[in-house]
């Protein structure tokens, strides 16, 4: 008999910081590493994860159909078009958060984790029922924030709520870091964010235009070897399964690029 998998919720409080992108990329990266992964979109009424994964046109049943007994979990799961072992349980678009209760969500997660190594729940923004549902079945939480004061404030609130809920040691992804802005002092420093939130850092993801392209195309950035953000998400996936991976040196990449562009200039000039 296989060991049950773990349920990880990706949450943030604030919207637009990259929860869905993180869910899609981490899930895909874990599948690339050979794990069986189920992604669950808990954002009922505002579903996005299927679009980011490029699976929108394959949806037949959704999470609400499952909890209301119209479909079994297996029927609602959509198999990813690229990777073996990667599945998506989509949210309903026509309903709202009240269509599911935390207890129902927990039973769905429990059912999934019997079959999968990782069940990754994409939480909606906010602290209301949608968030309550998303965390109900999870035993681990990953907080996504950007280095903005408002996002960090909301992340702090979420951490407090998770602690009150008995969630052990949430981890942090610092998304959309722009190293040059940090160096100029125009963006919050990584250390500043860590000092306020005082939780373990799971990963730092640099701002990367490739994310926008891949999101619109429904092709997670981890599938491209050229994307810096994709590499960061791959590292995060490895850390989630217990590997020790050093953090990306953001300035080093800049240095290399700068050197390259200098060489180009020299040769052309």
């Amino acid at each position: 008999m296989r060991q049950p998998g773990q349920v990880i919720v990706i949450t943030s409080g604030k919207g637009g910081v990259g929860k869905t992108t993180a869910t899609a990329n981490i899930g895909t990266a874990l599948a690339l590493l050979g794990h069986r992964v189920a992604l669950v979109d808990a954002d009922i009424g505002l579903r996005n994860l299927d679009v980011v994964m490029g699976l929108e046109n394959r949806i037949v049943y959704d999470l609400v159909d499952v909890v209301e007994g119209f479909a079994r979990v297996r029927q609602a799961l959509i198999k990813d078009k690229r990777f073996e072992g990667l599945y998506l349980l989509p949210a309903a678009q026509t309903r709202d958060k009240s269509a599911v209760s935390p207890l129902q969500m927990k039973s769905v997660c429990d059912e999934l984790k019997a079959d999968f190594d990782f069940v990754i729940v994409d939480s909606p923004a906010g602290i209301e029922q949608g968030f309550r549902n998303a965390i109900a079945g999870a035993e681990r939480a990953v907080i996504v924030t950007t280095p903005e004061v408002a996002a960090v404030r909301d992340a702090d609130r979420i951490i407090g709520l998770l602690e009150a809920d008995g969630m052990a040691e949430p981890q942090l992804i610092l998304n959309r870091i722009r190293h040059q802005m940090v160096r100029r002092g125009d963006m919050m420093d990584i250390d500043d964010v860590i000092e306020i939130l005082a939780i373990d850092l799971l990963g730092i993801v640099p701002e990367d235009e490739a994310i926008i392209v891949s999101t619109n195309r429904g092709d997670p950035a981890v599938t491209s070897s050229a994307s810096r953000a994709g590499l960061a998400f791959k590292n995060i996936a490895r850390r989630l399964r217990g590997e020790v991976v050093p953090f990306l040196q953001l300035d080093e990449a800049r240095g290399l690029l700068a050197r390259l562009s200098r060489i180009m200039k020299l040769s052309s000039g």
């Binding site: 404030r153 909301d154 702090d156 407090g160 602690e163 000092e195």
Partner: protein, 258 residues
């Protein structure tokens, strides 16, 4: 700022009266505290802006020679750091006291100076509340006595105490000491960089200094109608003196604004 005032106002219940002298049941005191806080908030936040608190920088010895920078912030002028001699026992030159008077509510007896109380709550019938861990955004800690936080108080969090507040970490959120009207209450923190400080009916926000907050412990108290922040040294603590205030914090008068 407005949001805080509004939410406090929303919690407002009818006016409560008390005739006793510190003999009330804890629940009654609690209710009374809430009522007073909400009433305070309602009047305080009617003002256009929250004044900047004055901060005494550096070591007391080096500051002793410097003349005070008097004056309250003009419109559009945010950064006001008032330096003053960190002499807790001496008389305050009237110019300094008068300089900021209009920006603050004064509820001190005429000619008197604040009675400073020791941080040690010995002899009180209301034990201190110890909060372990970080007080995070959205959480409010209230206590009808002293509050000690073993951790940080983050932005968006509120700590409201009838008496003193001590933060053994970084205070970044809002702290309201002496919330039931005790203007001798103090706020001490390992690193003091609050969103806003309130002591009794006095409200202040930190000066927007480019250098940020100092890297040493500080203590905030009300002196001459101004919230003043000073480096926290053992010397100054010993000069805070014994608890000479009435045991009934509610009996302190709270005046409405002019």
């Amino acid at each position: 700022m407005r949001a805080v005032g509004t939410s406090d106002r929303a919690r407002r219940t009818g006016p409560a009266r008390t005739g006793g002298k510190g003999r009330e049941e804890p629940e009654i005191l609690e209710g009374l505290a809430r009522d007073i806080v909400s009433r305070l908030s309602a009047t305080l936040f009617a003002e256009d802006d929250v004044p900047v608190f004055a901060r005494t920088r550096g070591e007391p010895a080096t500051e002793a020679e410097e003349p005070p920078l008097a004056g309250r912030p003009r419109a559009g002028e945010d950064v006001v750091t008032r330096r003053e001699r960190p002499d807790l026992s001496g008389e305050t030159p009237p110019a300094r006291a008068a300089g900021r008077e209009s920006g603050f509510r004064r509820d001190l007896p005429a000619g008197g100076r604040p009675v400073l109380r020791a941080l040690d709550p010995a002899g009180t019938d209301r034990p201190a509340l110890l909060v372990r861990g970080t007080v995070r955004s959205g959480r409010q800690v209230r206590h009808n006595g002293d509050i000690v936080v073993l951790g940080d108080v983050n932005p968006g969090a509120q700590v409201v105490a009838a008496r003193d507040i001590v933060v053994m970490g970084t205070l970044r959120g809002m702290a309201h000491a002496g919330a039931t009207g005790d203007h001798t209450a103090v706020v001490a923190a390992f690193r003091l960089c609050p969103t806003q400080l309130r002591i009794a009916s006095y409200v202040a926000r930190p000066p927007e200094e480019p250098g940020g907050h100092p890297e040493y412990p500080e203590l905030a108290l009300v002196r001459d109608g101004v919230v003043v922040v000073r480096p926290l040294t053992t010397g100054m603590l010993s000069r805070l003196g014994p608890d000479s205030l009435s045991s009934d914090p509610v009996s302190s008068t709270i005046r409405r604004g002019p």
